[in-house]
Symmetry: C2
Subunit: 499 residues, 2 copies
Amino acid sequence: MRQRFEELLCRLGAISDLGKAAALLAWDAETKMPPAGAEARAEQRATLTRIAHELQVAPELGALLEELRPFEEAHEHDSFEASVIRVARRDYEKAVRVPPELRAELTRTAAQGYHAWLEAREERDYGVLLPRLERGLELLRRYAACFEPDDPYDALLDDYEPGMKAAEVEAVLERLKAELPPLIAAVPGPVDDSCLRRRYPPEDQRRFALAVLERWGMDAQAWRLDDTVHPFATSLAPGDIRLTTNLHEEGLSGVLSCLHEFGHGLYERQVDPAYARTPLADGASSAFHESQSRLWENLVGRNLATWRFLYPELREAFPEQLGDVPLETFHRALNTVEPTMRRVDADEVTYTLHVILRFELERALLAGTLAPRDLPEAFDAKMREYLGLEPADPVEGVLQDVHWSELLFGYFPTYALGNVISVQLWERAAADLGDLDRQLERGEFAPLREWLREHVHRFGRALTPQQLLERAVGGPLDPEPYLAYLRRKLEQVYGTPVT
Amino acid sequence: MRQRFEELLCRLGAISDLGKAAALLAWDAETKMPPAGAEARAEQRATLTRIAHELQVAPELGALLEELRPFEEAHEHDSFEASVIRVARRDYEKAVRVPPELRAELTRTAAQGYHAWLEAREERDYGVLLPRLERGLELLRRYAACFEPDDPYDALLDDYEPGMKAAEVEAVLERLKAELPPLIAAVPGPVDDSCLRRRYPPEDQRRFALAVLERWGMDAQAWRLDDTVHPFATSLAPGDIRLTTNLHEEGLSGVLSCLHEFGHGLYERQVDPAYARTPLADGASSAFHESQSRLWENLVGRNLATWRFLYPELREAFPEQLGDVPLETFHRALNTVEPTMRRVDADEVTYTLHVILRFELERALLAGTLAPRDLPEAFDAKMREYLGLEPADPVEGVLQDVHWSELLFGYFPTYALGNVISVQLWERAAADLGDLDRQLERGEFAPLREWLREHVHRFGRALTPQQLLERAVGGPLDPEPYLAYLRRKLEQVYGTPVT
């Protein structure tokens, strides 16, 4: 049996290696590849993905997993052996439910959709994307049906949030939708954020961001930071974590984005190293991953306590830009609340409304109660209703995000759930660690990092997101801490109690 | 039939994609990867290599190639179709002759050998490598036997020089061995190369090297230059050529190494783009590849005509280092002839003696007429005999190159053959292009580059090295042009006729 388990590890190792090689192909394409390599790169990625999938649905793998049932049962739920088999079986059973032709067509349509999206933005014409989206939704409905869910949206969501149902997401988002608009309405007008409209030389930003991340736990032995257009983090191995950023001339959003990506990277870095080359070596879910990036970007990175420690360093790096700016002014500027047209520019408070809008629209599209041709109007209507803004054209509106064109339905809510989870974890860490703010003020970031390793990161995918949250915070998903946090933050930034 | 041919292209495309993905894993490991990623990277590379090999020996591929025989015969020898099938069949037939266990053990022993070599150098003790080398030779003899060659060395050589026999190599090298020592003996003593012992800031070297390579045909659309420890060139696609270099503080050897790697890169860049994702998309042989790097490094890069054009630019980049150095002094310094202990430091004239020494020793090792335990003494004896130098210890002697530890027997001679071929091509290009030196003096590098595309590069592996040489220069391998070139060069550098 032990030998058969070793054979399983071998098979899973090869699948993991192909995935990591594909991740390098992707990282390189976004950071290093000469432009003329793009076409060949797409073929290379497609080939690796196809072969990994073939290994993932191999009947021999299924038979091996069956054979190993008694072995799994002979081991504790939390043991390495039982966890690997349990998670591998889940992956296998999901993978084999989808006919290869359907999967191939989904991949093709997503790729075409992406190109149509680029073209639609170029032409400022949603009509270019429309037929792809119609076709994509048809395929997604067939994909969802493979899993015989009560609600088709559940099947799509499950790819990002294993085990979560659309109804649960809806309950959380409904609560936020009720509470956020009055919060925003109570904001007494924009703060002075002129200090973030100054010019900050990108090389100085990079130096500062790296200095911060080194304090937080990044080191050159196992991490890199490179330039890209759309920042992301990727892990090529437990000891090979890659962050990317886009440092603009104006403002410090590139630095904040480094802090965000660090959260993703740290999660991967702190998964139990014994899980390497198994399906356990990844985050528990998209929302959990997002909770980690949001935690370091917002709860640490926009925290007054953190800047009490870091601001002298920042000022030293940018004396001309910040010499005349008191800490409190800088912190307020970092935390301005004001509805923005683009989701990616949104502050902590309005962000979730962008997500709710998209969640509602994508559920309606999938259910067929909203026709794709009516999407732009529906999008604009919700922008007006939730954020009081009127997109000037489809590029500002329905075409601002790439997700739908690539058929990533079910992904958007994980951004909002990530915010919710980040505060639940923060509260528990603060309770466990004593005065967390005091630690940040003294530049002591290690206790928080180690708390996250111990209570979240090390488990990788061995626990479901539900189990992980229950063990880490002692309860289920709960938007109240997040709402309370936003209220405290607004009070701190705007000086007056809000709501 | 056409459909079956398309199926063949699909299968070959996947093998190619895996190879290119493995090449990216290797490039990244040498240029970008954080050190802690090394162990996982080795697994990733092994997995991709293993899967590519499985596809390469798949019985379905063999059956398809059989089935396509009439299709091949219905096409001209030089056609894309016939060439792909012919070369793919050669690769398949070679691959299936080797039992998988033997291949796996060769790979393992080579990896262990590499680590033993590192350790042996560290300890300055050949004894650390000896058992690996003994085991490796045993495996290499079994490997060679799979091909039932007249001379086991032929089988190893064939992996680098398809179709070439050890006896042919020997004939060329014997001729050089007879002619080179008197040439070297006639050198009237070292020239003043103090200008190449000065400090050149690496960033300025990089800027200059890139400016030169841009003139030669490198562009950011399809090329990169990165730093590494041991320079190399790799192609990830026809439009994705990567050069690496190691720019030292002292001297300009890093710039010369850029010119060398450019030659490799240009070859890959100029293969017929229609050959992408087929086995035709590569150089004809290792010697042909080396001929291209040597041509740009030596025949162009150490040429007085080239520097008549480039030297003002170089002087402008390094006014302190070269302001007092006349062109002729600089050119002589670039072309000093003086025996060196290390092969990689050797000049154009003595280089081949390093290769001859290694060729003779590796043939004797393989034949069993030299025992691995006697190798260090044999190495030192030939160093004394051919170069008049006495290695102080094994690191200066037998451990200076990595090749044998990694079981790359049969590779060394391709360096010397590359020199020979480079001059044969040069002579023909000069005859076709008119006054080549005059073109270089005017900074016109495009005619030479295009000549190489037309007569060498575009064919990729579609022609055998023998066919390619015959078509390009109208004759077989011939060391005489190379010898004549060296005599001219020495006369130019030392001012007096040599021999």
